[in-house]
Protein backbone atom coordinates (compact mmCIF):
# COMPACT_ATOMS: atom_id res chain seq x y z
CA UNK A 1 0.00 0.00 0.00
CA UNK A 2 2.63 2.45 1.03
CA UNK A 3 4.44 2.24 -2.29
CA UNK A 4 1.22 3.39 -3.95
CA UNK A 5 0.62 6.46 -1.85
CA UNK A 6 3.10 8.77 -3.65
CA UNK A 7 1.16 8.17 -6.87
CA UNK A 8 -2.25 9.02 -5.46
CA UNK A 9 -2.52 12.49 -7.08
CA UNK A 10 -2.12 10.88 -10.50
CA UNK A 11 -4.37 7.93 -9.65
CA UNK A 12 -7.10 10.37 -8.65
CA UNK A 13 -7.47 11.17 -12.37
CA UNK A 14 -6.29 7.91 -13.89
CA UNK A 15 -8.78 5.64 -12.12
CA UNK A 16 -11.98 7.24 -13.46
CA UNK A 17 -10.34 8.06 -16.82
CA UNK A 18 -9.31 4.45 -17.45
CA UNK A 19 -12.55 2.98 -16.16
CA UNK A 20 -14.61 5.07 -18.58
CA UNK A 21 -13.90 2.99 -21.74
CA UNK A 22 -14.37 -0.21 -19.71
CA UNK A 23 -17.83 0.97 -18.69
CA UNK A 24 -18.81 1.16 -22.37
CA UNK A 25 -17.52 -2.36 -23.04
CA UNK A 26 -19.59 -3.96 -20.28
CA UNK A 27 -22.29 -6.21 -21.71
CA UNK A 28 -24.91 -5.10 -19.23
CA UNK A 29 -25.96 -1.70 -17.88
CA UNK A 30 -25.87 -3.01 -14.29
CA UNK A 31 -22.23 -4.02 -14.72
CA UNK A 32 -21.42 -0.59 -16.16
CA UNK A 33 -23.10 0.98 -13.18
CA UNK A 34 -21.22 -1.27 -10.73
CA UNK A 35 -17.93 -0.44 -12.42
CA UNK A 36 -18.62 3.30 -12.44
CA UNK A 37 -19.67 3.26 -8.81
CA UNK A 38 -16.63 1.23 -7.81
CA UNK A 39 -14.34 3.71 -9.64
CA UNK A 40 -16.09 6.65 -8.03
CA UNK A 41 -15.88 5.13 -4.53
CA UNK A 42 -12.23 4.34 -5.20
CA UNK A 43 -11.69 8.01 -6.17
CA UNK A 44 -13.44 9.01 -2.94
CA UNK A 45 -11.12 6.73 -0.96
CA UNK A 46 -8.09 8.28 -2.71
CA UNK A 47 -9.40 11.76 -1.90
CA UNK A 48 -9.83 10.79 1.76
CA UNK A 49 -6.25 9.44 1.94
CA UNK A 50 -4.98 12.61 0.23
CA UNK A 51 -6.82 14.78 2.76
CA UNK A 52 -5.11 12.79 5.54
CA UNK A 53 -1.70 13.26 3.91
CA UNK A 54 -2.22 16.99 3.38
CA UNK A 55 -3.21 17.37 7.03
CA UNK A 56 -0.15 15.42 8.19
CA UNK A 57 2.58 16.61 5.85
CA UNK A 58 1.29 19.70 4.07
CA UNK A 59 1.35 20.13 0.30
CA UNK A 60 2.00 17.16 -1.95
CA UNK A 61 3.85 17.69 -5.22
CA UNK A 62 3.95 14.91 -7.81
CA UNK A 63 6.30 15.17 -10.76
CA UNK A 64 4.68 13.49 -13.74
CA UNK A 65 7.17 11.01 -15.26
CA UNK A 66 9.88 12.34 -12.90
CA UNK A 67 10.36 15.46 -15.03
CA UNK A 68 11.01 18.29 -12.62
CA UNK A 69 8.86 21.40 -13.01
CA UNK A 70 8.79 23.92 -14.64
CA UNK A 71 9.77 21.77 -17.68
CA UNK A 72 7.77 18.74 -16.64
CA UNK A 73 4.11 18.88 -15.70
CA UNK A 74 3.63 18.84 -11.95
CA UNK A 75 0.58 17.72 -10.05
CA UNK A 76 -0.02 19.23 -6.66
CA UNK A 77 -2.49 18.75 -3.84
CA UNK A 78 -2.85 21.30 -1.07
CA UNK A 79 -5.58 22.01 1.47
CA UNK A 80 -7.70 23.87 -1.08
CA UNK A 81 -7.71 21.14 -3.71
CA UNK A 82 -8.01 18.38 -1.10
CA UNK A 83 -11.20 19.93 0.27
CA UNK A 84 -12.74 20.15 -3.20
CA UNK A 85 -11.56 16.66 -4.15
CA UNK A 86 -13.72 15.45 -1.27
CA UNK A 87 -16.66 17.44 -2.66
CA UNK A 88 -16.27 16.17 -6.24
CA UNK A 89 -15.70 12.49 -5.50
CA UNK A 90 -18.28 12.51 -2.71
CA UNK A 91 -20.96 14.11 -4.89
CA UNK A 92 -20.21 11.69 -7.71
CA UNK A 93 -20.38 8.66 -5.40
CA UNK A 94 -23.66 9.67 -3.75
CA UNK A 95 -25.28 10.48 -7.07
CA UNK A 96 -24.08 7.20 -8.61
CA UNK A 97 -25.42 5.20 -5.66
CA UNK A 98 -28.81 6.76 -6.30
CA UNK A 99 -28.47 6.44 -10.09
CA UNK A 100 -29.84 2.99 -11.02
CA UNK A 101 -33.24 3.65 -9.45
CA UNK A 102 -33.55 7.16 -10.72
CA UNK A 103 -32.06 6.70 -14.20
CA UNK A 104 -34.30 3.83 -15.26
CA UNK A 105 -37.12 6.39 -15.54
CA UNK A 106 -35.11 8.86 -17.56
CA UNK A 107 -32.43 7.26 -19.76
CA UNK A 108 -33.05 4.28 -22.04
CA UNK A 109 -31.43 1.03 -20.87
CA UNK A 110 -29.31 0.62 -24.01
CA UNK A 111 -27.85 4.11 -23.59
CA UNK A 112 -26.95 3.76 -19.92
CA UNK A 113 -23.45 2.28 -20.31
CA UNK A 114 -22.46 5.28 -22.48
CA UNK A 115 -24.01 7.48 -19.86
CA UNK A 116 -21.83 6.03 -17.10
CA UNK A 117 -18.74 6.41 -19.31
CA UNK A 118 -19.50 10.11 -19.81
CA UNK A 119 -20.03 10.39 -16.07
CA UNK A 120 -16.59 8.94 -15.31
CA UNK A 121 -14.99 11.30 -17.83
CA UNK A 122 -16.69 14.23 -16.12
CA UNK A 123 -15.36 12.96 -12.79
CA UNK A 124 -11.85 12.56 -14.24
CA UNK A 125 -11.95 16.07 -15.70
CA UNK A 126 -13.16 17.71 -12.50
CA UNK A 127 -10.57 15.89 -10.36
CA UNK A 128 -7.90 16.69 -12.96
CA UNK A 129 -8.55 20.43 -12.62
CA UNK A 130 -8.04 20.07 -8.89
CA UNK A 131 -4.77 18.12 -8.91
CA UNK A 132 -2.89 19.83 -11.73
CA UNK A 133 -0.51 22.74 -11.25
CA UNK A 134 -0.32 23.63 -14.95
CA UNK A 135 -2.45 26.35 -16.54
CA UNK A 136 -2.93 24.58 -19.86
CA UNK A 137 -3.71 21.26 -18.19
CA UNK A 138 -6.51 23.04 -16.37
CA UNK A 139 -7.96 24.08 -19.74
CA UNK A 140 -7.84 20.54 -21.12
CA UNK A 141 -9.37 19.00 -18.00
CA UNK A 142 -11.99 21.75 -17.92
CA UNK A 143 -13.02 20.88 -21.46
CA UNK A 144 -13.05 17.12 -20.71
CA UNK A 145 -15.39 17.72 -17.80
CA UNK A 146 -17.54 20.25 -19.66
CA UNK A 147 -17.94 18.15 -22.82
CA UNK A 148 -19.02 15.15 -20.78
CA UNK A 149 -21.31 17.35 -18.69
CA UNK A 150 -23.02 18.52 -21.92
CA UNK A 151 -23.55 14.88 -22.89
CA UNK A 152 -24.97 14.01 -19.47
CA UNK A 153 -27.38 16.95 -19.51
CA UNK A 154 -28.48 16.27 -23.10
CA UNK A 155 -29.53 12.79 -21.90
CA UNK A 156 -32.49 14.33 -20.06
CA UNK A 157 -35.92 12.96 -20.95
CA UNK A 158 -37.49 16.32 -21.83
CA UNK A 159 -36.73 17.72 -25.30
CA UNK A 160 -36.18 21.15 -23.76
CA UNK A 161 -32.87 19.72 -22.49
CA UNK A 162 -31.49 20.19 -26.03
CA UNK A 163 -31.77 24.00 -26.34
CA UNK A 164 -30.65 24.23 -22.71
CA UNK A 165 -27.53 22.19 -23.35
CA UNK A 166 -26.81 24.06 -26.59
CA UNK A 167 -26.82 27.31 -24.67
CA UNK A 168 -24.55 25.77 -22.04
CA UNK A 169 -22.20 24.47 -24.76
CA UNK A 170 -21.91 27.86 -26.46
CA UNK A 171 -21.41 29.81 -23.23
CA UNK A 172 -19.11 27.18 -21.74
CA UNK A 173 -16.93 27.16 -24.85
CA UNK A 174 -16.72 30.95 -24.89
CA UNK A 175 -15.71 30.84 -21.23
CA UNK A 176 -13.04 28.22 -21.85
CA UNK A 177 -11.72 30.11 -24.89
CA UNK A 178 -11.50 33.33 -22.88
CA UNK A 179 -9.48 31.41 -20.32
CA UNK A 180 -7.25 30.14 -23.14
CA UNK A 181 -6.67 33.71 -24.39
CA UNK A 182 -5.71 34.77 -20.87
CA UNK A 183 -3.29 31.88 -20.45
CA UNK A 184 -1.84 32.67 -23.89
CA UNK A 185 -1.16 36.28 -22.92
CA UNK A 186 0.54 35.24 -19.69
CA UNK A 187 2.56 32.63 -21.57
CA UNK A 188 3.58 35.32 -24.06
CA UNK A 189 5.00 37.43 -21.26
CA UNK A 190 6.54 34.70 -19.12
CA UNK A 191 7.15 31.65 -21.30
CA UNK A 192 5.84 29.24 -18.69
CA UNK A 193 2.61 27.42 -17.95
CA UNK A 194 3.38 26.21 -14.45
CA UNK A 195 1.37 28.32 -12.01
CA UNK A 196 4.11 28.63 -9.39
CA UNK A 197 6.71 29.45 -12.02
CA UNK A 198 4.38 32.04 -13.59
CA UNK A 199 4.17 33.92 -10.32
CA UNK A 200 7.97 34.08 -10.02
CA UNK A 201 8.61 35.10 -13.61
CA UNK A 202 5.85 37.69 -13.68
CA UNK A 203 7.82 39.63 -11.10
CA UNK A 204 10.45 40.35 -13.79
CA UNK A 205 7.97 41.38 -16.48
CA UNK A 206 8.35 45.06 -17.25
CA UNK A 207 5.07 45.83 -18.98
CA UNK A 208 2.15 44.54 -16.90
CA UNK A 209 -0.58 45.71 -19.29
CA UNK A 210 -0.90 42.34 -21.09
CA UNK A 211 -1.02 40.66 -17.68
CA UNK A 212 -3.90 42.90 -16.65
CA UNK A 213 -5.72 42.02 -19.88
CA UNK A 214 -5.03 38.34 -19.20
CA UNK A 215 -6.46 38.70 -15.70
CA UNK A 216 -9.59 40.21 -17.22
CA UNK A 217 -10.03 37.41 -19.78
CA UNK A 218 -9.41 34.68 -17.21
CA UNK A 219 -11.77 36.20 -14.65
CA UNK A 220 -14.62 36.70 -17.12
CA UNK A 221 -14.10 33.33 -18.82
CA UNK A 222 -14.17 31.42 -15.55
CA UNK A 223 -17.05 33.53 -14.26
CA UNK A 224 -19.02 32.27 -17.29
CA UNK A 225 -18.20 28.67 -16.41
CA UNK A 226 -18.92 29.28 -12.74
CA UNK A 227 -22.30 30.91 -13.49
CA UNK A 228 -21.47 34.02 -11.48
CA UNK A 229 -24.35 36.50 -11.83
CA UNK A 230 -25.01 37.94 -14.50
CA UNK A 231 -23.26 35.20 -16.53
CA UNK A 232 -25.51 32.50 -15.06
CA UNK A 233 -28.15 32.33 -17.82
CA UNK A 234 -27.19 28.82 -18.92
CA UNK A 235 -27.55 27.34 -15.46
CA UNK A 236 -31.28 27.23 -14.55
CA UNK A 237 -32.45 25.37 -17.67
CA UNK A 238 -29.42 23.08 -17.81
CA UNK A 239 -30.04 21.95 -14.22
CA UNK A 240 -33.80 21.72 -14.71
CA UNK A 241 -33.82 19.45 -17.75
CA UNK A 242 -30.83 17.25 -16.92
CA UNK A 243 -31.56 13.75 -15.55
CA UNK A 244 -32.09 14.09 -11.78
CA UNK A 245 -28.90 12.37 -10.64
CA UNK A 246 -26.85 14.45 -13.09
CA UNK A 247 -28.29 17.56 -11.46
CA UNK A 248 -27.23 16.17 -8.07
CA UNK A 249 -23.67 15.68 -9.33
CA UNK A 250 -23.27 18.92 -11.28
CA UNK A 251 -25.11 21.18 -8.84
CA UNK A 252 -22.91 19.91 -6.03
CA UNK A 253 -19.56 20.47 -7.69
CA UNK A 254 -19.31 21.63 -11.33
CA UNK A 255 -19.56 25.40 -10.87
CA UNK A 256 -17.48 25.29 -7.69
CA UNK A 257 -14.53 23.87 -9.57
CA UNK A 258 -14.54 26.90 -11.88
CA UNK A 259 -14.66 29.17 -8.84
CA UNK A 260 -11.72 27.20 -7.47
CA UNK A 261 -9.70 27.87 -10.63
CA UNK A 262 -10.75 31.53 -10.61
CA UNK A 263 -9.62 32.04 -7.01
CA UNK A 264 -6.48 29.96 -7.38
CA UNK A 265 -5.30 31.61 -10.60
CA UNK A 266 -6.02 35.07 -9.30
CA UNK A 267 -4.30 34.66 -5.95
CA UNK A 268 -1.40 32.45 -7.03
CA UNK A 269 -0.47 34.37 -10.16
CA UNK A 270 -1.94 37.86 -10.28
CA UNK A 271 -2.33 39.11 -6.70
CA UNK A 272 1.40 39.18 -6.04
CA UNK A 273 2.30 40.90 -9.30
CA UNK A 274 -0.32 43.50 -10.12
CA UNK A 275 -0.60 46.73 -8.17
CA UNK A 276 -3.90 47.17 -6.36
CA UNK A 277 -5.20 43.92 -7.78
CA UNK A 278 -6.86 42.91 -4.50
CA UNK A 279 -8.85 46.09 -4.91
CA UNK A 280 -9.80 45.35 -8.52
CA UNK A 281 -10.76 41.78 -7.64
CA UNK A 282 -12.88 42.93 -4.75
CA UNK A 283 -14.68 45.79 -6.48
CA UNK A 284 -15.40 43.77 -9.59
CA UNK A 285 -16.78 40.69 -7.87
CA UNK A 286 -18.45 42.03 -4.74
CA UNK A 287 -21.29 43.93 -6.50
CA UNK A 288 -21.91 40.89 -8.72
CA UNK A 289 -22.02 38.60 -5.68
CA UNK A 290 -24.47 40.87 -3.85
CA UNK A 291 -26.69 41.25 -6.92
CA UNK A 292 -26.54 37.50 -7.49
CA UNK A 293 -27.71 36.75 -3.95
CA UNK A 294 -30.61 39.20 -4.12
CA UNK A 295 -31.82 38.72 -7.70
CA UNK A 296 -31.52 34.93 -7.87
CA UNK A 297 -33.20 34.47 -4.48
CA UNK A 298 -36.08 36.67 -5.62
CA UNK A 299 -36.52 34.63 -8.79
CA UNK A 300 -36.42 31.41 -6.76
CA UNK A 301 -39.27 32.67 -4.59
CA UNK A 302 -41.55 33.01 -7.61
CA UNK A 303 -40.47 29.82 -9.39
CA UNK A 304 -42.89 26.91 -9.42
CA UNK A 305 -40.75 24.19 -11.00
CA UNK A 306 -38.92 22.59 -8.07
CA UNK A 307 -35.68 21.83 -9.90
CA UNK A 308 -35.49 25.32 -11.37
CA UNK A 309 -36.23 26.75 -7.94
CA UNK A 310 -33.19 24.97 -6.50
CA UNK A 311 -31.13 25.92 -9.58
CA UNK A 312 -31.86 29.62 -8.96
CA UNK A 313 -30.98 29.08 -5.35
CA UNK A 314 -27.63 27.72 -6.60
CA UNK A 315 -26.98 31.00 -8.44
CA UNK A 316 -27.65 32.81 -5.15
CA UNK A 317 -25.34 30.48 -3.22
CA UNK A 318 -22.55 31.05 -5.77
CA UNK A 319 -23.07 34.70 -4.78
CA UNK A 320 -22.25 33.85 -1.14
CA UNK A 321 -19.13 31.94 -2.19
CA UNK A 322 -17.94 34.88 -4.30
CA UNK A 323 -18.84 37.37 -1.59
CA UNK A 324 -16.51 35.56 0.79
CA UNK A 325 -13.72 35.49 -1.80
CA UNK A 326 -14.22 39.15 -2.76
CA UNK A 327 -13.43 40.27 0.80
CA UNK A 328 -9.79 39.28 0.02
CA UNK A 329 -9.10 38.43 3.65
CA UNK A 330 -8.16 35.18 5.38
CA UNK A 331 -11.53 35.06 7.13
CA UNK A 332 -13.44 35.76 3.90
CA UNK A 333 -11.59 33.08 1.93
CA UNK A 334 -12.14 30.58 4.75
CA UNK A 335 -15.86 31.31 4.60
CA UNK A 336 -15.81 30.98 0.82
CA UNK A 337 -14.07 27.56 0.92
CA UNK A 338 -16.35 26.36 3.70
CA UNK A 339 -19.43 27.43 1.81
CA UNK A 340 -18.29 25.49 -1.27
CA UNK A 341 -18.15 22.37 0.89
CA UNK A 342 -21.34 22.99 2.83
CA UNK A 343 -23.40 24.17 -0.10
CA UNK A 344 -22.42 21.02 -1.99
CA UNK A 345 -23.78 19.00 0.94
CA UNK A 346 -27.00 21.00 1.25
CA UNK A 347 -27.78 21.28 -2.46
CA UNK A 348 -26.77 17.68 -3.11
CA UNK A 349 -29.16 16.50 -0.41
CA UNK A 350 -32.00 18.68 -1.67
CA UNK A 351 -31.57 17.45 -5.25
CA UNK A 352 -31.29 13.82 -4.05
CA UNK A 353 -34.62 14.28 -2.27
CA UNK A 354 -36.08 15.63 -5.51
CA UNK A 355 -34.76 12.54 -7.36
CA UNK A 356 -36.69 10.39 -4.86
CA UNK A 357 -39.77 12.56 -5.33
CA UNK A 358 -39.53 12.30 -9.12
CA UNK A 359 -39.98 8.53 -8.91
CA UNK A 360 -43.60 8.99 -7.86
CA UNK A 361 -44.53 12.51 -8.94
CA UNK A 362 -44.60 12.84 -12.70
CA UNK A 363 -43.89 16.57 -12.90
CA UNK A 364 -41.76 18.25 -10.27
CA UNK A 365 -44.00 21.29 -9.98
CA UNK A 366 -45.08 22.96 -6.80
CA UNK A 367 -48.72 22.47 -7.83
CA UNK A 368 -48.31 18.71 -8.14
CA UNK A 369 -47.00 17.93 -4.68
CA UNK A 370 -49.88 18.94 -2.38
CA UNK A 371 -49.74 16.68 0.69
CA UNK A 372 -47.04 14.43 -0.78
CA UNK A 373 -45.23 14.30 2.59
CA UNK A 374 -48.03 12.12 3.95
CA UNK A 375 -47.15 9.50 1.33
CA UNK A 376 -43.40 10.02 1.19
CA UNK A 377 -42.39 11.10 4.71
CA UNK A 378 -38.71 10.10 4.43
CA UNK A 379 -38.21 11.86 1.10
CA UNK A 380 -39.74 15.10 2.26
CA UNK A 381 -37.91 14.96 5.61
CA UNK A 382 -34.66 14.72 3.63
CA UNK A 383 -35.73 17.74 1.58
CA UNK A 384 -36.50 19.66 4.77
CA UNK A 385 -33.02 18.98 6.22
CA UNK A 386 -31.39 19.96 2.90
CA UNK A 387 -33.52 23.12 2.89
CA UNK A 388 -32.62 23.98 6.49
CA UNK A 389 -28.96 23.56 5.64
CA UNK A 390 -29.46 25.81 2.60
CA UNK A 391 -31.05 28.48 4.80
CA UNK A 392 -28.29 28.12 7.40
CA UNK A 393 -30.19 26.93 10.47
CA UNK A 394 -27.95 26.09 13.46
CA UNK A 395 -27.22 22.37 13.70
CA UNK A 396 -26.81 21.99 9.92
CA UNK A 397 -23.70 22.43 7.78
CA UNK A 398 -25.07 25.58 6.13
CA UNK A 399 -25.06 27.43 9.44
CA UNK A 400 -21.30 27.07 9.88
CA UNK A 401 -20.38 28.76 6.61
CA UNK A 402 -22.96 31.55 7.00
CA UNK A 403 -21.56 32.16 10.48
CA UNK A 404 -18.01 32.37 9.17
CA UNK A 405 -19.15 34.61 6.31
CA UNK A 406 -20.87 37.04 8.65
CA UNK A 407 -17.90 37.17 11.00
CA UNK A 408 -15.62 37.77 8.00
CA UNK A 409 -17.69 40.76 6.87
CA UNK A 410 -17.33 42.32 10.33
CA UNK A 411 -13.78 43.36 9.40
CA UNK A 412 -15.00 45.34 6.43
CA UNK A 413 -15.58 48.61 8.29
CA UNK A 414 -18.23 50.77 6.63
CA UNK A 415 -19.40 48.03 4.31
CA UNK A 416 -20.03 45.54 7.11
CA UNK A 417 -23.63 46.50 8.02
CA UNK A 418 -24.70 46.49 4.35
CA UNK A 419 -23.07 43.12 3.63
CA UNK A 420 -24.52 41.53 6.76
CA UNK A 421 -27.93 42.87 5.78
CA UNK A 422 -27.55 41.26 2.33
CA UNK A 423 -26.55 37.89 3.84
CA UNK A 424 -29.44 37.94 6.30
CA UNK A 425 -31.92 39.08 3.64
CA UNK A 426 -30.71 36.28 1.36
CA UNK A 427 -31.24 33.79 4.18
CA UNK A 428 -34.76 35.09 4.84
CA UNK A 429 -35.51 34.71 1.13
CA UNK A 430 -34.20 31.14 1.34
CA UNK A 431 -36.63 30.54 4.21
CA UNK A 432 -39.43 31.77 1.95
CA UNK A 433 -38.62 29.56 -1.05
CA UNK A 434 -37.92 26.46 1.01
CA UNK A 435 -41.03 27.01 3.14
CA UNK A 436 -43.27 27.34 0.06
CA UNK A 437 -42.32 23.80 -0.96
CA UNK A 438 -42.50 22.41 2.57
CA UNK A 439 -45.88 24.00 3.26
CA UNK A 440 -47.52 22.54 0.18
CA UNK A 441 -45.88 19.13 0.61
CA UNK A 442 -46.95 18.83 4.27
CA UNK A 443 -50.14 20.82 4.56
CA UNK A 444 -51.27 21.17 0.94
CA UNK A 445 -54.99 20.66 0.44
CA UNK A 446 -57.60 21.36 -2.20
CA UNK A 447 -56.72 21.33 -5.89
CA UNK A 448 -53.63 19.34 -6.81
CA UNK A 449 -53.63 17.38 -3.57
CA UNK A 450 -52.08 13.95 -3.89
CA UNK A 451 -54.77 11.34 -3.44
CA UNK A 452 -53.68 8.59 -5.81
CA UNK A 453 -52.68 5.35 -4.18
CA UNK A 454 -49.80 4.64 -6.55
CA UNK A 455 -47.78 7.39 -4.92
CA UNK A 456 -45.63 5.72 -2.33
CA UNK A 457 -42.31 6.12 -0.55
CA UNK A 458 -39.20 5.85 -2.76
CA UNK A 459 -37.35 2.50 -2.65
CA UNK A 460 -34.60 1.99 -0.08
CA UNK A 461 -31.90 1.82 -2.77
CA UNK A 462 -32.24 5.56 -3.32
CA UNK A 463 -33.39 6.56 0.18
CA UNK A 464 -30.24 5.20 1.81
CA UNK A 465 -27.73 7.41 -0.08
CA UNK A 466 -30.10 10.35 0.38
CA UNK A 467 -30.24 9.82 4.12
CA UNK A 468 -26.49 9.35 4.43
CA UNK A 469 -26.21 12.79 2.79
CA UNK A 470 -28.80 14.12 5.25
CA UNK A 471 -26.85 12.77 8.21
CA UNK A 472 -23.63 14.26 6.81
CA UNK A 473 -25.35 17.66 6.74
CA UNK A 474 -26.09 17.31 10.44
CA UNK A 475 -22.70 15.72 11.22
CA UNK A 476 -20.74 18.57 9.63
CA UNK A 477 -23.14 21.03 11.25
CA UNK A 478 -22.28 19.73 14.71
CA UNK A 479 -18.60 18.80 14.23
CA UNK A 480 -17.25 21.09 11.50
CA UNK A 481 -13.59 20.60 12.52
CA UNK A 482 -12.39 18.91 9.30
CA UNK A 483 -13.76 21.36 6.68
CA UNK A 484 -12.93 24.34 8.90
CA UNK A 485 -9.34 23.18 9.32
CA UNK A 486 -8.89 22.59 5.59
CA UNK A 487 -10.56 25.90 4.67
CA UNK A 488 -8.44 27.82 7.13
CA UNK A 489 -5.18 26.41 5.84
CA UNK A 490 -6.37 26.92 2.23
CA UNK A 491 -7.11 30.57 3.02
CA UNK A 492 -3.71 31.02 4.67
CA UNK A 493 -2.07 29.50 1.62
CA UNK A 494 -3.89 31.95 -0.66
CA UNK A 495 -3.16 34.96 1.53
CA UNK A 496 0.59 34.23 1.43
CA UNK A 497 0.54 35.26 -2.21
CA UNK A 498 -1.03 38.63 -1.53
CA UNK A 499 1.17 41.57 -2.32
Amino acid sequence: MSSWTPHLPALQVVVPLMTAPLAVLMPDRRLSWALATAASLCALAIAIVLVGEVRDQGNIVYEMGLWAPPYGIALGVDAMSALLLLVVTGASSFALLAAPTSLSHEVGHERQSYFYAAWLLALAGLSGILVTADAFNIFVFMEISSLSAYILIAGGPDRRALPAVFKYLVMGTIGATFYLIGVGLVYMMTGTLNLADMELRLADVGDVKPILVAAGFITVGLALKAAIFPLHVWLPNAYTFAPNVVTVFLAACATKISIYVLIRFDFFVFQGNLTAHDWQFSYFLMPLAVLGILVASTVAIFESNLKRLLAWSSVAQIGYIMLGASLVSAAGLTASMLHMFNHALAKGTAFLALSCLALSVSRLDIKNIGGVARRMPWTMAAFVVGGLSLIGVPGTAGFISKWYLISATLDMGNLAPALIAVILLGSVMAVVYVWRVVEIAYFGQGAGTITDDYIQEAPLAILIPTWIAVLLNIWFGLTPALPVELSTSAAELLMEHLR
Binding site: L147, L162, F166, V170, I174, A176, G184, D365
Partner: protein, 124 residues
Protein backbone atom coordinates in the same frame (compact mmCIF):
# COMPACT_ATOMS: atom_id res chain seq x y z
CA UNK B 1 4.23 51.64 -38.31
CA UNK B 2 4.29 49.64 -35.10
CA UNK B 3 0.52 49.64 -35.31
CA UNK B 4 0.58 47.78 -38.64
CA UNK B 5 3.67 45.77 -37.73
CA UNK B 6 1.55 43.78 -35.34
CA UNK B 7 -0.79 42.80 -38.17
CA UNK B 8 -0.77 39.13 -37.13
CA UNK B 9 -2.40 40.07 -33.83
CA UNK B 10 -4.90 42.27 -35.64
CA UNK B 11 -5.94 39.31 -37.81
CA UNK B 12 -6.51 37.26 -34.67
CA UNK B 13 -8.54 40.06 -33.08
CA UNK B 14 -10.70 40.61 -36.16
CA UNK B 15 -11.38 36.86 -36.51
CA UNK B 16 -12.13 36.63 -32.81
CA UNK B 17 -14.67 39.42 -32.91
CA UNK B 18 -16.34 38.20 -36.14
CA UNK B 19 -16.76 34.78 -34.60
CA UNK B 20 -18.07 36.23 -31.37
CA UNK B 21 -20.51 38.44 -33.30
CA UNK B 22 -21.85 35.42 -35.21
CA UNK B 23 -22.36 33.48 -31.97
CA UNK B 24 -24.37 36.31 -30.46
CA UNK B 25 -26.27 37.71 -33.44
CA UNK B 26 -27.11 34.69 -35.61
CA UNK B 27 -30.34 32.89 -34.75
CA UNK B 28 -29.56 29.72 -36.68
CA UNK B 29 -27.89 27.08 -34.51
CA UNK B 30 -25.49 25.89 -37.23
CA UNK B 31 -24.39 29.47 -37.95
CA UNK B 32 -23.81 29.93 -34.24
CA UNK B 33 -21.52 26.90 -34.27
CA UNK B 34 -19.64 28.26 -37.30
CA UNK B 35 -19.13 31.47 -35.35
CA UNK B 36 -17.91 29.47 -32.36
CA UNK B 37 -15.38 27.59 -34.49
CA UNK B 38 -14.12 30.87 -35.95
CA UNK B 39 -13.84 32.27 -32.44
CA UNK B 40 -11.71 29.31 -31.36
CA UNK B 41 -9.62 29.34 -34.55
CA UNK B 42 -8.69 32.98 -33.86
CA UNK B 43 -7.22 31.94 -30.51
CA UNK B 44 -5.29 29.13 -32.20
CA UNK B 45 -3.78 31.73 -34.54
CA UNK B 46 -2.89 33.94 -31.59
CA UNK B 47 -0.92 31.11 -30.04
CA UNK B 48 0.80 30.06 -33.26
CA UNK B 49 1.81 33.58 -34.13
CA UNK B 50 3.46 34.25 -30.80
CA UNK B 51 5.68 31.20 -31.13
CA UNK B 52 7.00 32.31 -34.54
CA UNK B 53 10.54 33.65 -34.59
CA UNK B 54 11.55 35.59 -37.69
CA UNK B 55 13.88 33.45 -39.77
CA UNK B 56 13.35 30.53 -37.42
CA UNK B 57 13.14 26.97 -38.68
CA UNK B 58 11.66 23.78 -37.34
CA UNK B 59 13.17 22.89 -33.96
CA UNK B 60 15.00 19.73 -34.96
CA UNK B 61 18.24 19.58 -33.06
CA UNK B 62 21.29 18.17 -34.85
CA UNK B 63 24.95 19.01 -34.39
CA UNK B 64 24.89 21.01 -37.64
CA UNK B 65 21.87 23.04 -36.58
CA UNK B 66 23.28 24.18 -33.25
CA UNK B 67 23.72 27.72 -34.55
CA UNK B 68 20.29 28.03 -36.11
CA UNK B 69 17.28 29.93 -34.82
CA UNK B 70 14.21 27.90 -33.96
CA UNK B 71 10.56 28.81 -33.69
CA UNK B 72 9.08 27.97 -30.30
CA UNK B 73 7.40 24.57 -30.70
CA UNK B 74 5.46 24.63 -27.44
CA UNK B 75 2.56 26.89 -28.56
CA UNK B 76 2.07 24.66 -31.60
CA UNK B 77 1.88 21.58 -29.41
CA UNK B 78 -0.57 23.31 -27.10
CA UNK B 79 -2.72 24.30 -30.04
CA UNK B 80 -2.72 20.78 -31.38
CA UNK B 81 -4.48 19.84 -28.15
CA UNK B 82 -6.76 22.87 -28.32
CA UNK B 83 -7.74 21.97 -31.91
CA UNK B 84 -8.77 18.51 -30.73
CA UNK B 85 -10.86 20.12 -28.00
CA UNK B 86 -12.35 22.50 -30.59
CA UNK B 87 -13.27 19.68 -32.96
CA UNK B 88 -14.90 17.68 -30.16
CA UNK B 89 -16.91 20.74 -29.15
CA UNK B 90 -18.07 21.37 -32.71
CA UNK B 91 -18.93 17.70 -33.22
CA UNK B 92 -20.92 17.55 -30.00
CA UNK B 93 -22.62 20.84 -30.87
CA UNK B 94 -23.61 19.52 -34.30
CA UNK B 95 -24.91 16.29 -32.71
CA UNK B 96 -27.09 18.39 -30.44
CA UNK B 97 -28.31 20.37 -33.47
CA UNK B 98 -29.26 17.11 -35.21
CA UNK B 99 -31.19 15.97 -32.14
CA UNK B 100 -32.85 19.40 -31.94
CA UNK B 101 -33.92 19.12 -35.57
CA UNK B 102 -35.42 15.68 -34.86
CA UNK B 103 -37.36 16.89 -31.82
CA UNK B 104 -38.39 20.38 -32.91
CA UNK B 105 -38.13 20.05 -36.73
CA UNK B 106 -36.35 23.42 -36.85
CA UNK B 107 -32.93 24.80 -35.98
CA UNK B 108 -33.97 28.45 -35.72
CA UNK B 109 -33.51 29.66 -32.17
CA UNK B 110 -36.57 31.95 -32.23
CA UNK B 111 -38.93 29.17 -33.29
CA UNK B 112 -37.51 26.79 -30.67
CA UNK B 113 -37.94 29.43 -27.98
CA UNK B 114 -41.52 30.00 -29.07
CA UNK B 115 -42.29 26.27 -28.91
CA UNK B 116 -40.66 26.02 -25.49
CA UNK B 117 -42.72 28.95 -24.24
CA UNK B 118 -45.92 27.25 -25.37
CA UNK B 119 -44.80 24.06 -23.67
CA UNK B 120 -44.05 25.91 -20.44
CA UNK B 121 -47.49 27.54 -20.50
CA UNK B 122 -49.18 24.23 -21.29
CA UNK B 123 -47.50 22.50 -18.37
CA UNK B 124 -48.76 25.06 -15.90
Amino acid sequence: MEFLGLYNYWIAVVLLMSGFYAVIAKRNLVKKLIGLSLFQAAVFLLYITMGKVEGGTAPIFTSASAEQIFSNPLPQVLILTAIVVGISTTALGLAIVVRTKEEYSTIEEDEIQQMDCQENVASE
